[in-house]
Amino acid sequence: MKNKTLQKYLVIMLAGIVLNLGLYWLAHILHIPAWFDTVGTAYAAVTLEPAAGLIIAYLTNLFESNAVYASNSIVYYAIAALCALLFGLMLRKNGKVSWKKLPLAAVIYVAAASLLSAAITMWRTGAPNSGWELVFFSAARSRGVSVFFSAAFGAGVLKIIDTAVLCVLLPILYKVTPKRFKNEYYKEKLTWKSPFKENTN
């Protein structure tokens, strides 16, 4: 990587981690029913490329699982990775950032992340056991909803607030980022062709 590119990636990725952890901490001390720990991930995925978001997501989850939760909560990385991929890929049209698909990406993200989060929670602990997630989970359970869909509801409510804030912050953050720190044009050379045909282009 050239020095300028390396500098650009380092600055934005560091900013992404600070955003993730800073907003997460803010949500925690203000007792807001949200996590806010994917804003920096989506920001890096859109500003640079999805791969940068994937790495930030890992580092954020690594910190959270060691400092806040249990070591096995690192598997929630899957949700942050989903965020990086969805926003990083859907918000680029012909290589340029386009905000038209932001609502669609947000809806898909909320739905997929809620289900994925419920599946991971069921796998890890059987049911949500702390925080706001437990409050909404218990509310759904008291209405006779199944454990899985209650867990999805618990995570879903938090994800809706999370994603709403993300949708507001993301375009602002992108606009205030200086041009030299952005990949204004970025296109993945991916196709839907069979993966077994060798193609080195």
């Binding site: 791969a51 990385y77 993966p195 193609n199």
Partner: protein, 252 residues
């Protein structure tokens, strides 16, 4: 960025210094990650920390490999990312990581040994041995079939001829035949009749020949792989020298 990462992990364009360092780093991490397995009972804080750190690094390596699997397949198809988790090496990688994270029942703790498969992915010697097994697969399979047939026949003969006290079940006979064929011979099960002992003698003599065959095949294959690597290195050296000579003559 993904291309840069794939160059470091797989060294596709050129196996540069960063690739070699990365290979060594992951191999050391993989070995360090199994050190806590060598202790019984409650692990000390140091050992727990060592296991956690190494597992996080291996998990990160898993993610990086997943992220760049299209480069590995030399085909930028989106399907490459769907295929990756189902490749044998990826399954072994994740199976080695999940028990430490407490995401699998304690029975599966043994799967942590699979982290050593990383050595096969990164070590050149392991890669050579794998290549030998791949290239000699047919011959080795034939020898294996002969060995299995031999064990089965000698076990059957012994089971039919020997008294039930010595060989209570057919599995005992199979166990005896295998230990005799491989020249291990624990001695906990042995023939008591004269004919049985004679069969055992013949079985042991023939067994050495059957067992020695794969060893010879693997050794020959390994030598062939080594020679191939040496020839390739020499060819690269010659090409480099020729290139330098051409450059010098152009300058003149």
């Amino acid at each position: 960025m993904r291309e840069q990462i794939s160059n470091v992990i797989y060294g596709q364009k050129t196996k540069g210094r960063s690739t070699v360092y990365y290979d060594w780093f992951i191999m050391v991490v993989a070995i360090a990650s199994v050190v806590p397995m060598m202790f019984r009972g409650e692990l000390s804080t140091w050992m727990q920390t060592l296991e956690s750190i190494t597992v996080y690094i291996l998990f990160f390596d898993y993610i990086l490999r997943w992220m760049t699997h299209d480069f590995r397949m030399k085909n930028h198809s989106i399907w490459a990312f769907f295929i990756y988790p189902f490749t044998p090496l990826a399954i072994m990688d994740i199976a080695g990581i999940l028990p430490t994270l407490g995401l699998l029942p304690p029975t599966f703790m043994i799967l942590r040994v699979l982290r050593l498969v990383k050595l096969a992915q990164y070590s050149q010697s392991c890669r050579r041995v794998m290549n030998v097994f791949r290239s000699q697969a047919k011959t080795l399979c034939s020898v294996l079939i002969i060995a299995i047939a031999y064990i089965f026949i000698s076990a059957l003969v012994m089971f039919v001829h020997e008294p039930a006290d010595n060989f209570p079940t057919f599995f005992d006979a199979l166990y005896w035949a295998t230990t005799a064929l491989t020249t291990v011979g624990y001695g906990d099960i042995y023939p008591a009749t004269q004919i049985g002992r004679f069969i055992s003698m013949v079985s042991s003599l023939l067994g050495i020949a059957v067992i020695a065959m794969p060893a010879g095949i693997v050794t020959a294959g390994f030598m062939e792989e080594l020679n191939k690597d040496l020839a390739e290195k020499e060819r690269e050296k010659e090409n480099k020298e020729n290139g330098e000579k051409e450059d010098a003559s152009d300058e003149k």
